[in-house]
């Protein structure tokens, strides 16, 4: 169950990176063990919002504002799944 008042952040060993070439290439790097994950732009945008300042509820609102009604449910579902996966992979954590 996703608690929407929680504030999440990337663990400190992870950094998001946008490489400005063509339409952009998007990466998530672990600077301790060297893991790298290629992201699509949507995942990159979503992870950028997980900044240790905004609650999940606030991020949901941001996403709703950004996308049309048509895509809203799909985007929120994708975001929920992204958070679940990132927590399982121990890439994001609750703000301490």
């Amino acid at each position: 169950m996703l608690e929407i008042n929680k504030i999440l952040q990337l663990k400190e060993e992870y950094i998001l990176f946008k490489f400005d070439v063509g339409n952009g290439k998007f990466w998530l790097f672990n600077i301790e063990n060297g893991d790298s994950f290629k992201l699509n732009q949507t995942s990159y945008n979503m992870l950028s919002l997980i900044d240790g300042k905004r609650s999940i509820e606030e991020i949901n609102k941001c996403l709703i504002d950004k996308f049309s009604n048509k895509n809203r449910d799909l985007i929120l579902k994708d975001f929920k799944e992204l958070i679940k996966r990132m927590r399982q992979e121990k890439i994001i954590e609750e703000r301490k």
Binding site: I15, F17, F19, F29, N30, I31, G34, D35, S36
Partner: protein, 348 residues
Amino acid sequence: MIKSFDEFYIQWHITARCNLRCSHCYQEEYNAKSELSLLDLYKIADQITMALKKWKMKGRIALTGGEPFLKGELFPLIEYLEQNENIWRIGILTNGIIIDQKIVDKLKTFKKLYYIQISLDGAKEKTNDFIRGKGSFKKAINSFRLLTDNGIKTRLMYTVHKKNIQDVSSLIDLAINENIKTLTIERFVPEGQGAEFKDWFLSKDEIHNLFQEIVQRAELEYQKGTPLQIIKYRTLWAIINPDRTKIPDVPLEIDLGGMCSIGIDSLTILQDGTVYPCRRLPIPIGNLLEDSIFKIWYTSDVLWKIRNKNNLKGKCNKCELIPRCSGCRAIAYAMTGDYLSEDPQCWK
């Protein structure tokens, strides 16, 4: 991982101390104060190892200085590096001044030692010693012979500028006669001590004519079956014959051009652990005793700017030869202060 090749090159300057003071040297200081202990050298080696393993790459490590044979930790460090299965080749870049039989006997015990590179800056004693110091030519030649006689592969590094360009043809003769396996002719980058000698920097036409002459000679020697390999897979060489770059599987002996390796498959480490993109591009991008190699590789703004070839300026920006050239960023930096500016020696 951003790159697609399977070899990663590390040039590791384990000491700044040197027994020569070559006029064109890229160093500014030659003291031992910031040198690392063997334990710290091992820590850096562990970082390299970790990265190679993660990236599933083979490491080629060139140990140098200053003069690397002045550092007592050189041999223990090689022994340590040899234990790592991700490191497949080790080279030593030296001025050849203090190599003797005792050193050679030790070198012969290393299984991954691939070559010893000695610098010369003239094919004649007079030219070389004017730049590198009195007596350095004879000592370097003696070291080439000693190493070759003991079955160790040698390479010759020649930094070309106005004071020694006239010797290049004779230098190729010398390399062939001395059974040297590989000759690298590198363009002079006026920085460090060498910044005083900007007037030694060759013009576009001089570089163009020189490269053309070397390519013709290299192809002739290749046809004759001469075992000397003249390195031409560097920046600017592709312009000599752009069509050559389109032919797959060209033998290295006659291959032309290579993209600058900064941010793709190489790094330089200094004697105190500081990391540069390239030894000739003296912009610190981290220190391996304080930063992880991954942090440096993944977050350096300088590396990312250079990786993105759209950032290149001037004629380099739209050049169709970028995949085989991209210009020397170090020369651009030394001559203009902007490492993204066009290569000032490009004649295209």
